[in-house]
Symmetry: C2
Subunit: 321 residues, 2 copies
């Protein structure tokens, strides 16, 4: 089952948003065009636009209004990805070379800045101070999350709360805002807006935890990058936090942290985590967020949008890569 099949209800609108994204990153500069299109065409799940559109179905759905929110939210996400690759020194993402690898750090940095500026240009057309507030607050939190991620790198002794706060800022908030803003601009009532915001938050947390698990349980081919990349880059994720209670694993992790590892050493760590109970412990935490997300959905009126959201939530919770 592919995620995109779940989107079939909103396929024409998503195609429209894809076109708009291409137009949005268009510029006179050949270098900027190439880098932005490279990033856009590397794909992605377009989770944020999907949630904007679906949330809009709970109000007065007007695709021209929805796209004004969906496009900038995906652009903000893209900008953060291209800056992430600089931080993490990532050579490859989704099986393709990153902008920083294909060009360099400087091009990656300004491509991110440019895409962000384009996002802002889109948003200026929306006359809603509340929307602007939600968005700027979200962007600030995303940036703070990124800085905290740098601060927390290579710290094996951080606690679970540090991790959860980090992924909230890094991932959950933007998904939460997508749901919230989609509902808000379609004029959905306050109660609906609130439930959708919470749904987005919980599903975002679940989504990121699964992502962090897959970094250990998937193959290099499935991931489109080397398994264990998070550990290589010093990012301490949930599977590691669960696994470290075993003193032997703790020593193994501690010894290999912040070192240039051979492929063999890297795979040994990946295997150790994969075969430990940590994976199931992390999955259980993800499932708790998933069921909280589903509870929020149950508070919303029945209909095809709720059903699609439910299916996507299940897919995210159970996905293999």
């Amino acid at each position: 089952m592919k995620l995109k099949l779940l989107y079939s209800d909103i396929k024409p609108e998503l195609d429209l948003i894809e076109q708009e994204l291409e137009q949005a990153v268009d510029s006179e500069s050949p270098l900027l065009n190439d880098a932005s299109l490279h990033l856009l065409q590397a794909g992605g799940k377009r989770i944020r636009p999907v949630f904007v559109l679906l949330a809009g179905k709970f109000g007065n759905y007007n695709v021209d209004v929805m796209k004004q929110v969906a496009v900038p939210l995906e652009l903000i996400h893209m900008a953060s990805l291209v800056h992430d690759d600089v931080i993490d020194d990532s050579e490859i993402r989704r099986g393709k070379p990153t902008v920083k690898a294909e060009w360099n750090n400087s091009v990656a940095m300004y491509t991110g800045d440019f895409i962000l500026a384009r996002a802002l240009e889109y948003i200026t057309d929306i006359d809603s101070p509340r929307l602007h507030h939600v968005l700027s607050k979200t962007m600030i939190e995303v940036c703070r999350g990124e800085i905290i991620q740098i601060e927390d790198k290579y710290k094996l002794d951080q606690n679970l709360r540090d991790y959860l706060r980090r992924i909230k800022r890094k991932t959950a908030l933007l998904i939460s805002s997508s749901c919230e803003l989609g509902a808000m601009v379609s004029g959905a009532d306050e109660k609906t807006v609130r439930h959708l915001r919470k749904f987005g938050y919980y599903i975002g947390m679940s989504f990121q935890i699964i992502d962090d698990i897959l970094d250990f349980t998937s193959s290099d081919e499935e991931l489109g990058k080397p398994a264990g990349s998070d550990f290589l880059q010093g990012n301490i994720t949930l599977p590691i936090l669960c696994a470290r209670s075993n003193p032997e694993i703790y020593r193994l992790l501690q010894t290999n942290l912040n070192k240039d590892l051979t492929d063999e050493e890297r795979l040994r760590i990946v295997q150790t985590i994969r075969n430990s109970p940590a994976i199931n412990e992390a999955k259980a935490i993800s499932e708790r967020y998933l069921s909280k997300a589903l509870k929020e959905l149950n508070e919303l009126p029945k209909g095809p949008a709720r059903k699609t959201m439910r299916n996507i939530a299940f897919f995210i919770g159970k996905r293999k890569f």
Copy 2:
């Protein structure tokens, strides 16, 4: 004569803005705080807030409204500086180590992102779609300017138009927008807004050209960084474009472009440009912009604000460092 003496009319408001800037970059993260304060305390001329305030004097001046525009404009400028230092691999700015030198590229990148997000948060409180449009357009052009600067690096054969377009985007637009927006939010009439926008553009062009000249004519100590840094970083500025018509200088530049130069080699190039007619040619172009700026001022009502703007314009046109 120091530039700050010219600001005495608006000193209390500028102090207020300085406090607001400090609050704006405050965050829970110690790393982010340190990096942002480091950047803020490295100082700068605060030209953009000054122009916002002075432009506001042509309408109904209310300092609480003016600061809502002045603070984000300075923040946007600061964010672009910290990203510039990554691009240019600058170790030192205004006599102090840059954020990228004191910490690293990643911290510099996210400090810039964070400061930018804070700027946006400030702006969201202003209910003026037109203002939001001007600002997002300006930010897009600034980013495009930066990317074009990367594309144009080390190209000794570019033409004058390329250079002028680059400094327009890099510097003149943000100063122009400062004047325009200051006038706009204070409710000045359309004619005044237009003249102030043009004044800002011309003075911004003059300002950047002088900056590019000083990179050759000042000492390392006066600049707070090595003289000739622009050339070292591959940025082809107006003095170089003027000097290259001499075949001997052209060969010297061509041979030393994109190479690791010793201090001696660097100073030889700086001396050659400094002693060539290129400096006076570049100054003449700067003066043409300066007189265009003064013409725009003459169209505005007489008064202390116009006088201060005039004094600042002259100072910028004649400054030694």
